[in-house]
């Protein structure tokens, strides 16, 4: 009973997030003083050196408005937008790579982003929690404060600084990695896979380091608080070993808020991944967004942002649905 209610509540939040997120995406360009269609026509005209006649421009405008669903009042536009995005997952063609559909471009980039992001987040989470647990459990020892210091040093450093510093250190001063990595496409061969893995290491390390600091600090704080709980004292008096107390008593209980925190911070982790991809020219959603932003390719931008919202919300939902498996208190309520 408790679980059903929890799941229903969580799915309700998920749908609300999707709905509000998509609505914001829909409203943004319409609240802006600039019309993307005007921008596009301006671009075409400058390419044609202003030789376009006004009739041709008017015709092009109606075409574009039809193509991008800009005719009718705001409400009908909204309904058709939701239908197009949710039911058909159709964002129209890309401006820059016309007539390639946006959805295909995004679906091509998605595995890259997911591969990098999931691996790095997983490693950062596991390592960070382990270090944080040790730092928190032995917080009275001097050596533990060194571990915490690592977290303090890493946590406030922004992603782009980490990325550029790593690039500077490991690609320029010590040229272990290439300055501008290439990511081969097409048929995969073992060499190509190796090259992809090798070139993904630098963005991967950036993401791991960035996530690491936060996990250390928050796990440390949780572990310190949990160590003071009476049931840990009871375990100690009962004669449970240090290891058992740390892993089975402190870790299991301190883990739960960490899982919730991960679900909440996914949006930020995703932001970091996008930025890292941009700086390392890693061929994921982030790079697509950057190229689209500089080229004014709005369809691609909307596709990417819609997918981002869906992906982050879904990942949060999945984590929250796993939660009752970890926390028996919800199951038995």
């Amino acid at each position: 009973m408790g679980v059903l209610r929890y799941v229903a509540k969580r799915i309700g939040l998920y749908l609300a997030v999707l709905f509000i997120g998509l609505t914001i995406t829909f409203m943004l360009p319409r609240l802006m003083p600039i019309n993307p269609v005007d921008g596009y026509i301006g671009q075409l005209q400058s390419r044609a050196n202003g030789t376009l006649t006004s009739e041709a421009i008017a015709e092009m405008r109606t075409n574009l408005e039809q193509l991008y669903g800009l005719n009718g009042n705001v409400f009908t536009q909204y309904v058709s937008y939701l239908k197009r995005v949710v039911v058909d997952f159709d964002f129209g063609p890309s401006f820059t790579y016309y007539p390639q559909p946006v959805s295909a471009m995004i679906l091509n980039a998605l595995p890259w982003t997911l591969g990098l992001l999931l691996t790095a987040t997983f490693i950062a989470w596991v390592l960070g929690n382990m270090v944080g647990l040790v730092a928190g459990y032995f917080h009275k020892k001097r050596a533990a404060s060194i571990l915490e210091f690592l977290g303090i040093l890493l946590y406030p450093i922004p992603y782009y600084i980490l990325a550029i510093t790593l690039l500077l250190l490991l690609a320029y001063i010590f040229p272990v990695f290439p300055l501008s990595p290439t990511f081969p496409v097409g048929q995969m061969t073992p060499e190509k896979l190796g090259m992809i893995f090798y070139n993904s290491l630098l963005p991967g390390i950036t993401l791991v380091l960035a996530g690491f600091g936060w996990n250390i600090l928050s796990m440390k704080a949780l572990a310190v608080a949990t160590t003071e709980e009476p049931y840990v004292t009871y375990a100690r008096l009962k004669g449970a070993s240090n290891w058992t107390r740390m892993m089975r008593y402190v870790f299991r209980n301190a883990l739960l808020p960490q899982v919730t925190a991960l679900a909440l911070s996914l949006g930020m982790v995703f932001n970091g991944a996008l930025l890292t991809e941009m700086i390392f020219s890693y061929p994921g959603i982030g790079l697509i967004m950057r190229t689209a932003a500089t080229g004014g390719d709005y369809n691609v931008l909307y596709g990417a942002i819609t997918l981002s919202i869906i992906a982050v919300a879904t990942a949060g939902l999945v984590i929250d649905l796993i939660y009752p498996l970890l926390d028996p208190r919800i199951r038995h309520k």
Binding site: V17, G21, L275, I309
Partner: protein, 302 residues
Amino acid sequence: MTMSKDIDPIVMAVPAAPLSKRRKGSLAWLLNVRLAIGLAILLIMGLGSLILPFFATVDPSIQSSFMRNMPPSAAHWLGTNSLGQDIFWFLVFAIRNSLALGVLVACGVTLVATIVGLSAGYIGGRFERFVMLIVDTFITIPLLPILIILGALIRGNTSFFTVGIIIIIFGWAWDARTVRSMALSLREREFINMARFSGANTMQIIAREIFPYVSAYMVVGFINVVLFAINTEATLAVIGLSKVEVPTLGSIIFWALNYNALFTGQYVWLVAPIIATVTLFLGLFLTSTGFNQAFASKRGVS
């Protein structure tokens, strides 16, 4: 072993001494290592970037003021960049602008978050559930893609101020959540009821009971928003979607990357802002955790 420790008179006496010191009403309890280091960094960087610009001979955002690509010298402490700007002065203005933006955004976010969080916490019911749904949505939605779209749409037509407003619009949710949970826990506290039964009116309760309790969190939250705002603007600037003509900690890196400072061997152009950013962020972070620690130990005493 633990038993003997508990009755050890020396151990017992140790916490008693600072206790009596703290009661004298001095601010000594505020001092801890983190806070001291953090505040020192902030003070130096804040005052430095505030005062130094008055001595600047040239506006560093103007291009071609000097010879290009000069190495560090007495005239140009950090050399000049490929745009003919003095890197040292660009950096000083960058720190000032970034800090100013951070403080401005933090004021806005604190205001919005306090109004939303307090009203949700005190009114409760359907209103609270609706507000929290919006808050959770804003927390969940990845901010960077939205900012990228906004940046692409208004690029060139935006002012530095607008960038700040946009960060406020999309950055208030996390704080609102904190304020609301604080309001919820305060609503149930004994000492509030105690004050009310003793005849204090709402204004007195807010000023004397709630504010001292909440102010610690507000200071910490405020600093964290400053961090967040500087970081967000810099992130946008690094990918060229903020007002990059204005010197900020992000725009300086944007120009350095754009002019391939890495390939041309202009370390200083990249390393100087990196060191400045890391120092500033460390200062802000140490100040915020230092405050947290100081307030926590104070609460533990009283």
